[in-house]
């Protein structure tokens, strides 16, 4: 174990996999000479050279397609989206090529590619550069989607993603690159895709949250602990495949659930979690599942508006209180 930042954990995972397997390469804008817009690929060009670490022009659809084509014939490219916002320009390649080639070819051409980069709300980057992007991917059959909240998960899940034989969408966060945490240095350490984790044990209510929202839920939990409310927090880590078993086990224990997402909310991860929990644990629920989501608006630039756009600790606390009927309100209000 060593303490390192989320950024360093990603960098270490890339380094280990590049060492381990010559078929692995990194391709994207500014990943080489510039060492990454967010420095996740720091030192890689120096260590592995331009054959393995490939700088590209600004042509997301083009270089993503190049990665997919290379994967079709045996390479294992890790394509960096400088920020995931730009993946929209490559979405057709991701959805209609990467996700479907194995199926359309009857299993002849699988596509072992990882598409990674930061996504989600950032700091005053405004509407085009600050949006929750997983919503474009987890509903697509043939894609796996990862959102790692901690340095350890970042390393363990990225390694599993690179070793997976299928396309994996791996969305990091600008706002987490500098957080620190314990990370196993063992190059054989991986975390399997599709396993949620209980971040905090509790007995009164289950909160499902990931990335920045998971940390905000933690703060909410600490504050509520003072009032004797015991909150359990489950982090899905992988959104597709979703580990419903772990989430449902927690809900069956607490009988109450709040799902949090930074996204706009309409038909988002919160909707799916709410639906699954209600279907599978209806009789165990003492209150309807509460969704806490971002405000359904584009991301504004102004600092105060931006702050109001994503769920606050206060809104999470309110929702928890609502499912516990602690604030005299009726159900279901959002």
């Amino acid at each position: 174990m060593a303490v390192m930042t989320y950024r360093e954990a990603l960098n270490l995972a890339l380094r280990e996999e590049l060492k381990r397997d010559d078929r692995v390469l990194v391709i994207g804008e500014e990943v080489g000479l510039y060492e990454g817009a967010y420095k996740v690929t720091q030192g890689l060009l120096k260590e592995f050279g331009p054959r393995r670490i490939v700088d590209t022009p600004i042509a997301e659809s083009g270089f993503t397609g190049v990665g997919i084509g290379a994967a079709m014939v045996g390479l294992r490219p890790v394509v960096e989206m400088m920020t995931f916002n730009f993946a929209l320009l490559a979405l057709d390649q991701i959805v209609n090529s990467a996700a479907k080639l194995n199926y359309m070819s009857g299993g002849q051409f699988n596509v072992p590619i990882v598409i990674r980069g930061p996504g989600g709300p950032a700091h005053q980057l405004a509407a085009q550069h600050s949006q929750s992007m997983e919503v474009y991917f987890y509903h697509v059959p043939g894609l796996k989607v990862v959102r790692p909240s901690t340095p350890m998960d970042a390393k363990g899940l990225l390694k599993s993603a690179i070793r997976d034989d299928n396309p994996v969408i791996f969305i990091e966060s600008e706002t987490l690159y500098n957080i620190k945490g314990e990370v196993p240095e063992d190059p054989d350490f991986t975390i399997p895709l599709g396993q949620a984790v209980v971040r905090r044990e509790g007995t009164d209510v289950t909160v499902v949250a990931y990335m920045g929202m998971m940390y905000r839920a933690m703060e909410a939990a600490e504050e509520l602990a003072k009032d004797g409310v015991s909150v359990e927090i489950v982090d899905p880590r992988t959104l597709m495949p979703l580990d419903a078993v772990t989430i449902l086990a927690s809900v069956r224990k607490t009988h109450r659930a709040v799902v949090v997402e930074a996204g706009a909310g309409f038909a988002g991860m919160g909707s799916e979690l709410s639906a699954v929990i209600t279907e599978q644990a209806f009789d165990d629920l003492d209150a309807p599942v509460e969704r806490v989501t971002g405000v359904p608006a584009p991301m504004p630039y102004a600092r105060n508006l931006e702050k109001a756009k994503t769920p606050s600790k206060e809104r999470i606390i309110e929702a928890i209180r609502r499912v516990l009927y602690l604030n005299g309100q009726g159900n279901g209000s959002r």
């Binding site: 590209t56 083009g62 084509g69 994967a71 359309m104 070819s105 034989d165």
Partner: protein, 336 residues
Amino acid sequence: MAQKTATKPKTAAGDIDPGLARRIYNDMVLIRRFEEKAAEAYALGKIGGFLHLYIGEEAVAVGATSAMRPDDYAIAAYREHGHCLAKGSDPRRAMAELYGRIDGLSKGKGGSMHLFDKSTNFLGGHAIVGAHLPLAAGAAFAVKYRGGDQVVACYFGDGAVPEGEFHEAMNLAALWKLPVVFICENNRYAMGTSLERALAETEIWKFGRSYNVPSEAVDGMDVLAVRDAVGRAVARARADGTPSLIEARTYRFRGHSMRDPAGAVYRTKEEVEREKLRDPIVSFRERALKAGWLSEDDLRKIEKDVNDLVDEAVAFADASPEPPLSELLTDIFKEK
């Protein structure tokens, strides 16, 4: 950079040996007959969805493939029966795929627009116009990455040229010197849209200048001219990874798809009839006879063998069962 300024496409000279003549004639006739049968099957409701026929354009896939090695890669759009067969796929499995049967190349899951054959390095069958050009560059990237000397043939229509991915793929291939030969099958129409209504520059080979890649136009109805042009491009690609853009001027004898049978709204009967006089199979047949590469008997024999093979393919497809329902949920992900 060897850039032909002649806008008049080159035609081929020179002699070829009978073995090659036999193969070329066989392959062109095979594709023609295969698709004529497919059209019949479509009319009978045995094939569904979209069916795009390559009839009239056979010289491009056959000429190009004849200039390449079996271990070279090929990738095409949704009008790809010809490229798949030229690359050596079993016509029976190709037909079974069109029928949506379990013995199809893709177990019936892909259909006419999505033929794939790993055993021949045929990378498919792609139905999003322009999307397979970056994939072709990617396969070439992998070849170079592995230090191999294979070349990738990427076939696409004139309709793909206005798409951004044409530009992105050309630039990346040129910038990184990826061994790919971009072969534009210019049949002058994208569905009902003629070249003049789609491109500000209708001499497609000229786009290669923007990427400093060798480019030329060639008579796509002359199988040997295509073979020569592609041969030059393949030699460059194998030597040092230089990509090329070849504009093969050809013509689609049928409608865009079976749903556009006549293809008559946007072009005149006269034009179609005139173009049919350039039938690549007929002209190669005459030439092979005149040059003495093949005798009338040789040609007849090839035609009969091909007919038998295609009849067998149809019977095979007809006899093949539908995929079991379990196939709906397999291949979504590759399991270790």
